[in-house]
């Protein structure tokens, strides 16, 4: 196991592995998106209170879940980079930021488009929305920090520290709807013993969530392998593999 980990912590092996895995993740995401969207529009019945507007849930909730999950991956990879000083984990952390920011933006935008017809307002300063907005600023701060520092190692270290401090925001987002009772509805899915959502509505949601996860896996690998090529552009293996196109 350890040997396996150290092998793929080497930039070249990670690059090769990422190259091989990306199409699998990408195509399975595409298939699940198709299945999930079919389920979201044709299989799931309209909500008895919210009518057809509830169909926004199928992108809103997966985006919101991903916004937090990607943040944990980013902070985790950052921590691994701090501890073991592996270039691969720095590349992964860096690659997470724009994706996480995108998911956070989507959660906020689709939430706003759902809130307008249901709550009668685009935005309210409640705990869930505010903490999610702070998450967006954390991602943007991380991206700004990366582009402000020229030295890659220093940038990765500074970014990792920022990401780790920001982890405190994640449980706040998660529990905000329980701690503060405001406009945003409480959890419906995470009460695993008795989810208060009908099974026909739940299945497409889980399919979409899986599709979002696979999409993220594919996209983060595309970004990370590019980061690695950029980092290692003067090394022999980049020359051989990418410029001379020697097959391994």
């Amino acid at each position: 196991m350890w040997k396996w980990i150290t092998k793929y912590a080497s930039p070249m092996h990670f690059y090769l592995l990422a190259n091989r895995l990306t199409p699998w993740f990408g195509w399975s995401a595409a298939v699940l998106f198709a299945v999930g969207l079919y389920g979201a529009f044709f299989y799931a019945p309209a909500d008895y209170q919210q009518g057809e507007s509830f169909r926004i849930i199928y992108i809103h909730v997966p985006s919101a879940w991903m916004s937090m999950f990607v943040y944990m991956v980013m902070a985790g990879a950052g921590a691994a980079g701090l501890i073991w000083k592996t270039k691969v984990s720095d590349a992964v952390a860096r690659s997470c930021a724009p994706l996480g920011a995108s998911f956070t933006f989507l959660a906020l935008a689709t939430g706003s488009l759902w809130g307008k017809p249901m709550w009668g307002t685009w935005w309210v300063w409640d705990a869930r929305l505010t903490s999610e907005l702070i998450l967006l600023f954390l991602y943007l701060g991380y991206i700004a920090l990366q582009s402000a520092i020229d030295d890659r190692r220093t940038a990765a270290r500074a970014g990792a520290i920022l990401a780790l401090v920001g982890v405190v925001n994640i449980p706040i987002i998660h529990y905000s709807v329980i701690w503060w009772n405001t406009l945003h509805q409480g959890p419906t899915i995470s009460k695993l013993d008795s989810p208060s959502i009908h099974i026909d509505m739940l299945i497409p949601l889980l399919v979409m969530a899986l599709a979002f996860n696979l999409y993220f896996a594919a996209m983060v690998l595309i970004r990370a392998r590019m980061e690695i090529v950029e980092q290692e552009k003067n090394s022999k293996w980049v020359q051989e593999l990418i410029v001379d196109k020697v097959s391994v």
């Binding site: 009518g51 057809e52 507007s53 985006s63 989507l106 935008a109 689709t110 996209m219 392998r225 950029e230």
Partner: protein
């Protein structure tokens, strides 16, 4: 035909539902297209540098 109209109408919420899905589609596509273009540019640049190096070596 009417069925299709009803589908796009989304019980009166069409604007909100389709705008949500539209924004999501655009953001997810951009997150694929942008790194791929950057990757292509990077590989092109590496190829160019290697070509220039190769020429330099031949001349000397």
């Amino acid at each position: 035909m009417e069925q299709l109209e009803n589908f796009f109408h989304m019980g009166g919420y069409g604007f909100y539902v389709w705008l949500s899905y539209g924004i999501t589609l655009i953001v997810l596509l951009l997150n694929y297209v942008m790194p791929r273009t950057r990757e292509k540019k990077l590989v092109d640049r590496l190829n160019q540098i290697s070509k220039m190096k190769g020429q330099g070596e031949n001349e000397s």
